[in-house]
């Protein structure tokens, strides 16, 4: 190595700035999606950061170099100070993204958000048909989303439609794409469910079969050919069907900083499940200390934490060992290789889930558990709130 300041194999060079700030303003949500990634114990988190707490966080993160901010949740429209936070973020120079189910995004609030300088709205759809949509989100929201999409267009915001894809809606991908075209979305994200939190609970009901995925990919390909100039369609295959893990969050503590509703700072939305790690709270620490100094953020930076097969793997830089949460959920060891990797000694856990998904009877045997406060209380009874870990 020519540059004496560059990192060695295991040492960590100073990380770059947290370019992406995800502000999870609240865990409250009018929907009850069975694939939600919010923690099972969300109901035990009741102390939300107040307006000043969020403004301080936005300022400190911007100072470090954060440039994209996503206002998310839960449902961020439930925060009456959303407009104030967007205005602050915009004036600080952030590109401001609102990630919403659309519930609460009235024409009036849209106008106020436009005046506040909101740059972009990502609208989530649970499915394109009313019946399935209502079933999957367990509320009557579909007509509303059509209205909200029109409001977004009226305000000239770029619109990204996000539809979480799973076993029960993947066969309707063509209808979902048609809907996105009708609504004038510039981008459609067909995001296959990632199996954390509530989605992990419901995994057997949500993981599509191989045949379903191949069919949906082919359909997506045909639409891309035909409408590629109008809409960009992103299709993400569930990682259980891959042989190498994803480079989770593009590297731990590398670009993503999540602030949860109570102010706890995380390197990803679900990292709080990991055992033996303390994550700092922005109420007590500056964002700079959180990002550069805290044990929680430094633990899995770089490659020093790796064990075999990752430690000597020639592909270690491609995926950095995959997802720590998935490794922990599926193997019980947060330092293990993500078992999606076929070099992992635990790959059989993933293979078993995949095998089950090829069998309709096994896959449909479980009733869905919907994300709601009652289930949250039931499932986390006697456990430590948001740290609730579910058996894999």
């Amino acid at each position: 190595m020519n540059n004496p300041a560059s990192s060695t194999n295991t040492a960590i060079s100073k990380p770059g700035p947290p370019l992406w700030l995800l502000a999870e303003l609240t865990y409250r949500c009018p929907l009850h999606c069975a694939f939600c990634y919010n923690p099972i114990g969300f109901d035990q988190v009741d102390q939300e950061l107040d307006t000043q707490g969020w403004i301080k966080t936005l300022r400190e993160a911007r100072e470090l170099g954060s440039v994209q901010v996503g206002f998310s949740g839960g449902e961020p429209m439930l925060r009456p100070d959303l407009e104030e936070l967007v205005a602050e973020a915009r004036s600080l120079g952030y590109y401001t993204n609102l990630l919403t189910s659309g519930v609460g995004l009235t024409a009036e609030r849209a106008k106020a958000l436009k005046e506040a300088g909101l740059d972009h709205v990502q609208l989530s759809f649970q499915d394109s048909t009313k019946e399935l949509n209502d079933f999957l989100s367990n509320t009557k929201t579909f007509d509303l989303k059509n209205k909200v999409a029109a409001i977004i267009k009226d305000n000239n915001w770029p619109m990204v439609l996000n539809c979480v894809i799973h076993r029960m809606n993947i066969d309707y991908v063509d209808k979902i794409i048609e809907l996105a075209l009708d609504l004038g979305a510039e981008t459609l994200e067909l995001a296959n469910t990632q199996f954390y939190s509530w989605a992990k609970l419901n995994r057997d009901s949500l993981l599509p079969s191989r045949e379903q995925i191949e069919k949906a990919e082919a359909v997506t390909g045909r639409y891309r050919e035909k409408y590629g100039d109008k809409i960009s369609i992103i299709f993400v295959v569930p990682d259980y069907y891959e042989h190498r893990p994803k480079k989770c969050m593009n590297g731990w503590g590398n670009v993503f900083l999540t602030i949860t509703p109570d102010g706890t700072a995380l390197p990803c939305h679900t990292a709080r499940m990991l055992p033996g790690l303390e994550f700092p709270n922005v109420k007590e620490h500056s964002v700079s200390d959180v990002w550069y100094e805290s044990e929680g953020f430094n633990r899995y930076r770089g490659k020093g934490w790796m064990k075999e097969p990752c430690r000597s793997c020639p592909e270690q830089d491609d995926d950095l060992g995959g997802c720590r949460c998935q490794a922990y959920m599926l193997t019980g060891d947060p330092n293990a290789a993500d078992p999606v990797c076929d070099k992992s000694e635990h790959r059989s856990v993933v293979d078993e889930a995949v095998a089950k998904a090829q069998d309709n009877i096994a896959a449909e045997a479980h009733p869905l558990v919907f994300r709601d406060p009652k289930e949250s209380k039931r499932l986390s009874a006697g456990k430590d709130g948001a740290n609730v870990l579910l058996p894999s």
Partner: protein
């Protein structure tokens, strides 16, 4: 692609060009993403103000950098930027 230099070039709606101190570079921001621009790309983009014709963008760059014959390079970048939907062209 044949680009008419009499068209006006502007940054696509919803995108934003800005200088980022922490990264010491110009970036183009779009929904949930960002592209870092190299120096020549950022010099071109900064002059695409939605009022200048492409031919005037070229002239201005040649004047500011005391060079000539920049048109092919500028057009080649604009072609790329159009493909990426970073910019739009419109006829006056």
């Amino acid at each position: 692609m044949n680009i008419d230099t009499n068209t006006v070039v502007s940054i696509s709606p919803g995108l934003r060009l800005q200088f980022e101190k922490a990264q010491d570079t110009w970036v183009l921001l779009y929904p949930e993403g960002m592209v870092k621009l190299n120096q020549s790309a950022s010099e071109i983009m900064q002059r695409c103000d939605g009022e200048r014709k492409l031919s005037d963008v070229v002239k201005l760059l040649e004047k500011d950098f005391e060079q000539t014959g920049l048109e092919p390079d500028v057009l080649s970048f604009v072609e790329h930027a159009l493909e990426q939907k970073w910019v739009e062209l419109r006829n006056e």
